[in-house]
């Protein structure tokens, strides 16, 4: 059974150009047609989120957040999101290479909704990204935002 495809936007915070392209490609294969906003580092992500708060940008229905970012890192971005009343309900999926226990704990403590270690093999990576999109866009029931 296929759920209702909601036309929600996705914010992808990722510094690796390769990973961005591969992620977009996996999304395309799912054919769900979400519009995707990309932030290349933590600073860009925070700028975009401020625009959202000011109503100058569409509130994303899902945030994919890398942990290891140059400058402002993923933890800081996560802390910001979860501390802002208008952003805190947006599901945040950590998508990172770190398997470090402390990173995992910190993210959940800060209110991350999911923590996923990027698979190293291409095929598994593609599967995982497709699954994330299907689960969070189709299966999961998000709160009303915006």
């Amino acid at each position: 059974m296929k759920g209702v495809v909601r036309a929600i936007d996705i914010l992808l915070v990722e510094d690796s150009q390769d990973d961005i392209e591969l992620t977009l490609r996996a999304f395309r294969k799912n054919n769900l047609g979400n519009s995707i906003h990309i932030a290349r580092d933590g600073r860009e992500a925070l700028e975009f989120l401020k625009q959202v708060e000011e109503g100058r940008a569409q509130t994303p229905g899902l945030i994919l957040l890398d942990l290891k970012l140059p400058g402002v890192d993923g933890i800081e971005v996560l802390r910001y999101i979860k501390s802002r009343p208008s952003l805190r309900r947006i599901p945040v999926v950590m998508l990172t290479t770190s398997k470090n226990d402390r990173d995992i704990e910190t993210c959940y403590d800060l209110g991350a909704n999911s923590y996923i270690v990027k698979p190293v093999s291409f095929r598994e990576f593609m599967e995982t990204v497709k699954n994330i999109q299907l689960y969070w866009i189709v299966t999961n029931q998000p709160p009303v935002v915006g």
């Binding site: 690796s16 390769d18 290479t97 190293v120």
Partner: protein, 478 residues
């Protein structure tokens, strides 16, 4: 066995034994010498006293009576003797005659000595010269004053008298030795209870703890049961252990996270290479000719191979450093598992696999490592095999404290010149297009076997198959 190999307790007891035996022996000698000297003095004093007494008696017949009484009481023989006896009873024996001749010549009045008689018994002999006194002249007008008339001779049975003393000394000695032995016994028990046993317990605890530190395991404190030197040693060891295992844990964590990030950072570009190659193939494959598509396939397969290499290298670095779950592992179950996992290949090749009935259970080993050993050897036996019916034989021999395992095949074999090379990492004997592989498998097997204190080697001849042998302890020490 030299003195250095003995335990502290035993050394102490040995030292105490030597000291006590020495002291009691020396004590006995001192006591014996002292007693002998005072006994000698006593005999001399008694003989001299009775002799002096007899000299004072003027009545000759009374002298004989006193002598008889004295002899009865003391067991001595006391008599008068003379060089020209009137009474034959007073005839001197050889010793007496000799002494009296000396008295006459040098004017001495007393002589004594311990003499061994013809029957082998020893006698203390005392002689006192009897000389003419002034009051004798009245009755014996022909005598001159000071002229030797005869002697008082005392003969004391020296052996009989000293025997009692020897008995006394011996009993003192025996009592001393009994005391010494019981003291040593008590000390022995005490030294075991107070020194040896607690020390040995401590040593065993320390050894166990050291092994746990080496394995990087969670180590508990060893118990501190007293506040003496042993207790302080245990406390000191606990402190040392804590800082050691903490630094060991940190170091191992650092290595592990380093290795992990290396493998990740190396593999991330590979993901892109593979991913974009596949994207290229999917999106633009129809616009390339077969040569172009072939190149893309080569890129993809190389990227994948590099991924495998990194994984294997990572695995190689973890052997002996990362401790996996340990326990009793049935090698027959492990081999069974390996065969199941290779079932497709075994069936495809029509291989015949024989596994010995007596495959043992290994104690305290990591199942995954044992699996890796058999898996690598068995898949090699299949891979390097051109026979129409590959035959593989897995077996085991009991060698006392260890098992000798072997995996035998009828494969292509190898030249024994390359024996050592095949166990080296990244070393291969064949071209990649002949037999695929990375050259890590046998290096992993060797490292696992050697981590367990075993040995691995092979016997082979080109075209005649190979047999790989390896030994593993029945119970791994960790």
């Amino acid at each position: 066995m030299s003195l250095r190999d003995l335990g502290i307790g035993t050394k102490l007891i040995l030292a105490i034994t030597v000291v006590i035996v020495g002291i009691s022996s020396a004590g006995s000698v001192v006591i014996y010498t002292y007693q002998k000297r005072s006994l000698d003095e006593q005999i001399l004093e008694r003989s001299r006293t009775v002799a002096e007494l007899l000299i004072q008696i003027e009545d000759h017949r009374l002298i004989s009576r006193v002598a008889e009484e004295f002899n009865k009481v003391t067991g001595y023989t006391l008599k008068q003797t003379s060089l020209e006896p009137v009474n034959p009873r007073n005839m001197p024996d050889e010793f007496e005659a000799m002494v009296m001749r000396n008295f006459r010549e040098n004017g001495e009045t007393e002589y004594y000595a311990v003499v061994t008689s013809e029957d082998g018994r020893r006698y203390f002999r005392y002689m006192k010269a009897l000389r003419t006194k002034e009051n004798c002249i009245s009755c014996h007008p022909g005598y001159e004053v000071g002229e030797l008339r005869g002697s008082i001779s005392v003969v004391a049975p020296y052996d009989t008298i000293t025997a009692a003393m020897k008995r006394n000394t011996l009993s003192v000695l025996i009592i001393l030795q009994i005391l010494a032995i019981s003291t040593i016994g008590v000390l022995y028990i005490l030294s075991r209870k107070i020194v040896s046993e607690p020390l040995n317990r401590l040593i065993r605890e320390m050894e166990g703890s050291a092994r746990e530190i080496q394995r990087g395991e969670e180590v508990r404190d060893i118990p501190v049961s007293s506040r003496d030197e042993i207790g302080r040693l245990a406390t000191a060891f606990n402190n040392l252990r804590r800082s050691l295992s903490e630094s060991f844990r940190r170091k191992n964590e650092a290595i592990e996270s380093f290795v992990y990030s290396i493998s990740h950072d190396l593999k991330a570009p590979l993901r892109s290479i593979e991913g974009f190659s596949i994207a290229l193939m999917e999106d633009y494959g129809d616009r390339l000719n077969s040569e172009g598509r072939h190149y893309i396939n080569r890129i993809v397969s190389s990227a994948r191979k590099m991924g495998v290499l990194i994984d294997e290298l990572l695995e190689y670095s973890r052997i002996g450093r990362i401790n996996l779950q340990r326990g009793d592992v049935s090698t027959s179950e492990v081999v069974e598992l390996v065969l199941e996992d290779n079932l497709y290949e075994i069936n495809r090749r029509g291989a015949e696999v024989k596994v010995a009935e007596n495959m043992p259970v290994l104690k305290n080993v990591e199942k995954q490592r044992i699996y890796q050993i058999f898996s690598n050897l068995i898949s090699n036996a299949l891979k390097y095999n051109k026979s129409s019916t590959p035959e593989i034989e897995v077996g085991c021999m009991d060698q006392g404290d260890r098992y000798l395992f072997y995996v035998k095949d009828n494969g292509i074999g190898f030249d024994m010149r390359y024996h050592d090379k095949i166990f080296e990492i990244f070393q291969r004997l064949h071209r990649e297009d002949e037999y695929s592989g990375t050259g890590v498998g046998l290096a992993i097997v060797k490292k696992i076997v050697e981590t367990y204190g075993g040995r691995i080697w092979a016997e082979s001849e080109p075209g005649k198959g190979s047999t790989f042998y390896f030994t593993l302890p029945k119970e791994a020490e960790v």
